[in-house]
Each structure stands twice: as structure tokens, then as C-alpha cells.
């Protein structure tokens, strides 16, 4: 949600960054940046030895194989080509990464409630490939796919073990064997030492820049984007909800409640909006069965329109007959930012 705002800032910032070198060009008669830059550039080109040995020493900081003899050579070569000027003015460069949002401080009240704002999520895109959406929808239920993209390249056998650990130990019982195999195949095809190298253009190293660039796309890779005005509820459901609640809304007995025939979600439209926005935890009963799992919040991943669309889809599918939910309702509920405990207490009986 913050990105559209950021984007608005970036353009003037970019312009500023561009303007600054021009200004410095105009106002430094002693050492015009153009001239000094040229000097530096050619000096660097002339002293290839210096540049390469220095950069290898710096870059390979922890390789720790630099011997004193190499050191002496470096010293000698560094001493020879003196730059023409004593100093070079600082250069300003257009920089998108490095933009840091400081955490906003909350206006606290003096009661016994201690509340913080949202936890920022900046999930980088996964490498495109076959079944990437299966990876996104399944893995994102419990964790951001950053847990995949921040891993070192791992052998397929390790990915296999990891996926089955999630299924069998971490309770990701919603991952079918078929999907598990798809996930393993995808990871083995894109995140192994053979296929995943730092610096590859397709290496999925796009970090904060990518979500920032897509204003209407949810920041989280697990959420399926939809147009801002005509979100397809069925599509959003299939991508984000069906792995737990089932393609036909039947849920998983004992783990994930059914949506088909679930009275609580077809009544007050504010309730389903609240649950989608902030998630739900605590004990609930659906059709006589008790559930005490946790549903993640989708506020950061889905827009008001998307939440309205998926809520409307759920309320009008599989025999449910609830009224449509409007984006305005979602917007109002988002602004209300109700704590999960309140949402639970407001659950229609």
C-alpha cells in the first residue's frame, strides 16, 4: 500500500539526483566534475594492476589468502599513478534501493493495550517457471517465499527433504503429494547450484525494487494480482485460499474450516472482510466441528477490491447465498484495523 506513495516520491527524487550533478557541474569552477571524472576514469584504466588487485582484496575480504608478498606488489603498483587532482567531489547517483521506510511511531493510548503497526512485507518474486504458482500458493500459507529466494543454491535432494519436512513435521498437510512433487521439481529446476547463481539476471535477486514497481500488484508473491477495478474472486480464491479451504470450499476436517455452508461468513459483510484483512485465531465452531487453527492476514497482500471480490465469491459459491461485499466495506474495515480478538468476539453465531 505504501508503494504508490513511494513511487510518487521516487520520481522527484530521481529528478533531484539528476539535478545535483548538473548543479555541481555549474558551480565548481576549480574542478569541473566532467574533467575530474575523465581523469579518474583513465587513471583507473591505466592502472589495471592496481584496480584489479585492490578489488580482489576488497571483494574477497574473507578469502584471506592474501600473502604479504602480494601485498608488497599491490603497494608498489598503487604508488605509481597519482591522480591529477587532490580530491574529487562527491558524485550523486540515482539510487532506488537504499530507500528505507522508518517505522512510523504509533499514537499510543494510556490503557492496557499495547499495539504495533503492520510488519513490512517485501517478498521478492520467485524465478518464473513451470508450477511457480503452486509454489507460491502452498508455501505462502506458512511463510513468505523469501525463505526460498534467500536460500543458497541447494541440491534437489535437499529441497526434497525440505518440502517433506514441511508436509510431515510442520503440518503443511494441505500440500498434496502431487503438489509436493511439483514444488520439488520447480525448486530443483531453479534453485540448485547448477541453475541458481548470484548475478544471473534470472536469479530472482530482485528485492524491494520489484514490488515497488508494480503499484496495483500485491507485495506478496503468494497473492495473485488482479486489476484494481475488476478483480476475479474465483481466481483469487483458487490462488490464495483453496490450498487450505479446498477448491470446493470443503476445508480440511479438524484443520481448516469449510466455507461451504459456513453461516458465519454469509451474514454480516463486515465480519468476512475483517477475517480476510486481519486473519483469525482462537477457537471457532463450524457446522458442529471445533477449529483452533490460525488464518493468516491478507491485508498486506490483497487490495480492498480483491478482498471484496474473493469475499463475494465465497459468499455466493457452493450453495452459499450471501450478499456481495463492496470494496467500500473492506476499505472501512481496513481503516478500523480491528484486533483479531475483537473480530473473534464479533463472529456471528
Amino acid at each position: 500500500m505504501k508503494y504508490p506513495v513511494l513511487m510518487g516520491l521516487l520520481v522527484p527524487l530521481g529528478a533531484l539526483a539528476i539535478a545535483v550533478p548538473l548543479v555541481s557541474l555549474a558551480f565548481t569552477p576549480d574542478t569541473p566534475p566532467a574533467a575530474s571524472s575523465t581523469t579518474t576514469s583513465s587513471a583507473a584504466a591505466d592502472s589495471t594492476t592496481t584496480a584489479s588487485s585492490a578489488s580482489s582484496a576488497t571483494g574477497a575480504a574473507a578469502q584471506s589468502t592474501e600473502t604479504p608478498s602480494t601485498a608488497t606488489q599491490t603497494a608498489t603498483s598503487q604508488a605509481s599513478p597519482a591522480p591529477a587532482s587532490i580530491s574529487i567531489p562527491a558524485q550523486y547517483a540515482d539510487q532506488m534501493r537504499g530507500v528505507i521506510d522508518q517505522a512510523a511511531s504509533t499514537a499510543y493510548t494510556t490503557d492496557a493495550s499495547y499495539t504495533i503497526g503492520t510488519i513490512p512485507q517485501d517478498t521478492p518474486a520467485l524465478i518464473p517457471g513451470q508450477d511457480v504458482e503452486v509454489v507460491q500458493t502452498n508455501c505462502s500459507v506458512c511463510h513468505a517465499t523469501t525463505f526460498i529466494s534467500s536460500q543458497p543454491p541447494l541440491p534437489g535432494s535437499t529441497w526434497h527433504d525440505e518440502v517433506y519436512k514441511m508436509k510431515e513435521k510442520y503440518g503443511a498437510t494441505f500440500i498434496s503429494d502431487d503438489n509436493a512433487n511439483k514444488i520439488i521439481a520447480y525448486l530443483s529446476a531453479h534453485y540448485t547450484p547448477e541453475t541458481h547463481k548470484p548475478g544471473d539476471s534470472s536469479a530472482g535477486t530482485v528485492a524491494t525494487a520489484t514490488p515497488a514497481a508494480t503499484t496495483s500488484t500485491p507485495a506478496q508473491a503468494g497473492a495473485v494480482p488482479a486489476s484494481a477495478t475488476t478483480a476475479d474472486g474465483a481466481k483469487i480464491y483458487a490462488a490464495n485460499c483453496s490450498s487450505c479451504h479446498g477448491a470446493a470450499g470443503a476445508g480440511v476436517p479438524g484443520a481448516f474450516p469449510p466455507l461451504a455452508g459456513n453461516k458465519a461468513i454469509v451474514g454480516d459483510d463486515k465480519y468476512i472482510a475483517d477475517v480476510l484483512l486481519g486473519g483469525l485465531q482462537g477457537q471457532i465452531a463450524v457446522n458442529g466441528q471445533t477449529y483452533s487453527g490460525v488464518m493468516p492476514a491478507w491485508a498486506a497482500q490483497l487490495s480492498d477490491t480483491e478482498i471484496a471480490a474473493v469475499a463475494t465469491h465465497v459468499r455466493s459459491s457452493w450453495g452459499n447465498a450471501g450478499a456481495a461485499v463492496s470494496a467500500d466495506t473492506v476499505k472501512a474495515e481496513r481503516a478500523a484495523a480491528k484486533p483479531v480478538s475483537q473480530v473473534l468476539s464479533e463472529r456471528p453465531q
Binding site: 530521481g14 571524472s37 576514469s41 578469502q63 592474501e66 510442520y170 547450484p193 487453527g293 480478538s341
Partner: protein, 426 residues
């Protein structure tokens, strides 16, 4: 990539092509690539990560300064190196690690209670007001370190949070003795372990490791005598992401036991077999916690739950951003720690570990705290120098350059190194 931003950035550059020479050259003169649409990588490998910190953008969570994001959900955020200049890590810069994604963003202290239950004479519960007023406050200075701190150094690499060295911090923790709380409940005969649980939850099926996070300590473990239930760190309340209102402090032990938002203390009559005790956070059953991939494959390795932290020393300054002029006197500084006895000695090498000299130990903040150290060094000639540091603790353990390996990426304590480029002073 064809995102709108990239395009607008490119066209902005194109517009500038008249003055473009300046920009293009200025890019060449900068050591870092600055105008680029490719973000810095967030992964490394298959070799070890060589930088001091892990990879990732700096992002601020509520009540925190920007930290290095490894994973956004659940939050894994690493403390940047520069914050270790002090023996006490600033609260706002303390690392964050949750095992499960769903944790409270709001605590209502009018209803929050710390409950002691299970095999006890009286099930009791305490409000924060009671913890503050009915118990003697005690303070312990202690390092909290993630069990997987420095996992990114492992060879072969192992999955998990790819921490550099910043999944640690030292704070002055103030709170209530765990023993005082246990006395109020009355531990019944037949209890073997005490289990800790906070309010974290995950989307995993009920009963699985992905649903709840629970850790247990043996009732006969002497560490219980020094455990406190802390409501303050460095004289401030805990940030929510660091466990407000109280977290368990287990001086000398890895952070996996330092339960955040501690809400349940449970006396067990049988050993805890939940996922987080029986399957996760296990180390090879030897002091260093090390083995080989082959031994694991052959299933000849005996595992046990992790516990105390081995001795480590870290170089904080100089870092790789320093280019030092020859002849300029410098101070090499850092922190040392051990969960197995006070740090007794820190030695520094300026020749990649060939020879060692004693560093000066700084103020002693207690056995479980960071021990600052410093070492005066004047590099005489230009060149590339590899500094190394090793610490010794009261148990007699000395760090070595031999890498640690185990399947989960735990207990790394190999000697730290830092290459420093020394230039001519002209």
C-alpha cells in the same frame, strides 16, 4: 524486467543523455554500482557467504531501527555489524527471529497473564503488574544468540535462515527469577522438565511443529537457577517483536529457549517430545556440535537438544569499508562471548593466524555478557592484511580455524577473519 519504474528510470536516464557523459563516468568512478535496476543479491552460495552480515535490504519494523531483512514472514532480521561496537546492543537494533508467522501485534495487559500449570501444586497466573510488584527484580547481562547464527558460513551450505554474524546481541535483562515463580506454583514430585510457550502460532496443522512453538529445559539443569522472566531489556520494555511483555532469559544458552511473549510455564512429568525438542534444534552429541555429511548419511550421528553456546570472538572494526593508510595507528575492536564460562583471553593475529598476540580485554559486564576487546595495530606498509581473532573461555575452550558442520547449521564458532587493505600514506 518491464516494471513501470524501471522504464521511467531508464527514460529519465535517456533524457539525460546530453549530460549523460557525466553520469556515466560518475558511475564508473563509484566502487558500488549505483544506478542499476538489479537489486543487490539476497542469496549467496554454494560457497560460504564471506561478508560479516547476511544479505538483504535494510527494513524497519515497528519499534525498531532498520535491520537486515533475511525473511519477511516470519520475521528474520539481522543486526548490522556497527551496532556491536558497544558491549550492550541497542534494544531497537536487536535481531528478530520468529519460528512461526503469527505472533501478537497487540497485547492487552488487562487480560494477558503468565500461567504456571501442569504438574504443580497450584496453577497460578500473574499479570505484568504482579510480576513488577510482587517479586524481587533481578538483572542479568547476557548474550542472546540464535542457534543458527553464522549459518551462511557452512560448507556444504544448509537450508534455514542464512544469517551472517548479526543474529545475536547482549542486553541487560531485568525481570523475575524463574525459581521464584516456580516456588509460587510448587513443583510437584515426578516433574522432569519445564516447558515454555509464548503466543506465537503458525498455519500448520494442530499438533505439528508448524502450529505452536514450545521449548523445554530439564528440571535438573543448573541453568534454571539463572533463568529470569524478563520484562525489560537495557532498561526499556521489550519491543513487541522481541517478546513484549516478558520473555525467558536463559543466560549462556542459545536463543531458541528464550521464549518470546512467554505466557505458559508448564511442568512436565515426561520428556517433551514436541517437534521443537525432539526433531528441531538438535546438535551432534559433542561439545562442538560438529560432524560430517557422510556420518549423517550413514546415520552414525547421535543428536541431542542444543544448549550452551561455545566461545566466540568477533571483529567489529575495522571492517571492509576501511582503507587504512600505512603508518596510521588503528584500534582493532570487537566482542567476545561464551556460554560455557567467562571469556578469559582474546588473541589477535595480523598475519592470517600465523602468529597471535593478546588483545586487551575491556570492562567485564559479567560471565554471560559480551566482553569487549581491543588491540592496537599500526600496519607499517601498504598491502592486504588478514586479521584474525580467537577467544578462550574459563572452561579452557579455545576457538580454532576448523569449520563446524552439522545438518541444521548450528553452533558455528570458527575463528573470525577480516581482510584490511592498507594503502600508501603518500
Amino acid at each position: 524486467m518491464n516494471e513501470p519504474t524501471s522504464l521511467s528510470r531508464r527514460s529519465a536516464l535517456a533524457l539525460l543523455s546530453g549530460a549523460g557523459a557525466t553520469l556515466a563516468l560518475s558511475r564508473n568512478t563509484l566502487a558500488q554500482s549505483s544506478v542499476t535496476n538489479t537489486a543487490a543479491p539476497i542469496f549467496s552460495g554454494p560457497g560460504p557467504l564471506t561478508g560479516w552480515n547476511g544479505l538483504g535490504p535494510l527494513i524497519a519494523l515497528p519499534q525498531k531501527v532498520p535491520l537486515i531483512r533475511l525473511v519477511d514472514r516470519p520475521p528474520l532480521y539481522e543486526t548490522p555489524r556497527a551496532y556491536f561496537g558497544s558491549a550492550f546492543t541497542p534494544t531497537a537494533a536487536f535481531f528478530i527471529r520468529s519460528n512461526l508467522s503469527i505472533f501478537p501485534a497487540s497485547i492487552d495487559l488487562s487480560t494477558w497473564r503468565l500461567k504456571l500449570e501442569g504438574n504443580v501444586n497450584n496453577t497460578v497466573q500473574f499479570s505484568l503488574a504482579q510480576l513488577l510488584s510482587e517479586f524481587e527484580p533481578v538483572t542479568v547481562n547476557a548474550v542472546m544468540q540464535c542457534t543458527g547464527n553464522s549459518r551462511s558460513r557452512f560448507q556444504p551450505r544448509r537450508p534455514g535462515g542464512q544469517w551472517g554474524n548479526g543474529a545475536m546481541g547482549c542486553a541487560a535483562w531485568t525481570g523475575v527469577r524463574l525459581r521464584d515463580l516456580l516456588k509460587k506454583a510448587g513443583v510437584k514430585a515426578g516433574s522432569v522438565q519445564v516447558q515454555f510457550q509464548g503466543l506465537d502460532k503458525g498455519a500448520g496443522a494442530p499438533g505439528s511443529g508448524g502450529a505452536e512453538y514450545k521449548k523445554s529445559l530439564n528440571l535438573d539443569d543448573p541453568v534454571l537457577d539463572r533463568c529470569i522472566v524478563a520484562y525489560a531489556m537495557n532498561g526499556q520494555p521489550l519491543p513487541l517483536v522481541n517478546g513484549f511483555p516478558v520473555r525467558l532469559v536463559v543466560p549462556g544458552y542459545f536463543a531458541t529457549y528464550w521464549m518470546k511473549t512467554l505466557s505458559f510455564v508448564r511442568l512436565l512429568t515426561e520428556k517433551d517430545t514436541n517437534f521443537w525438542m525432539a526433531t528441531a534444534y538438535l546438535q551432534p552429541d559433542n561439545l562442538k556440535g560438529t560432524t560430517t555429511p557422510q556420518a549423517v548419511k550413514d546415520k552414525t550421528v547421535k543428536f541431542k537438544p542444543v544448549g550452551s553456546m561455545p566461545v566466540r570472538a568477533f571483529i567489529v572494526t575495522p571492517d571492509e569499508t576501511v582503507k587504512a593508510p600505512a603508518g596510521l595507528p588503528m584500534t582493532v575492536t570487537g566482542q567476545a562471548m561464551s556460554g560455557r564460562g567467562a571469556v578469559t583471553k582474546v588473541e589477535v593475529s595480523t598475519d592470517d593466524g600465523k602468529t597471535w598476540k593478546a588483545a586487551k580485554l575491556g570492562e567485564d559486564h559479567g560471565e554471560y555478557a559480551f566482553r569487549p576487546w581491543s588491540f592496537a595495530w599500526t600496519p607499517k606498509t601498504a598491502g592486504s592484511y588478514t586479521l584474525a581473532v580467537r577467544a578462550t573461555d574459563a572452561s579452557g575452550a579455545v576457538q580454532t580455524g576448523e569449520p563446524i558442520w552439522n545438518p541444521s547449521g548450528y553452533l558455528w564458532n570458527t575463528t573470525e577473519r577480516q581482510t584490511v587493505v592498507v594503502g600508501s600514506a603518500g
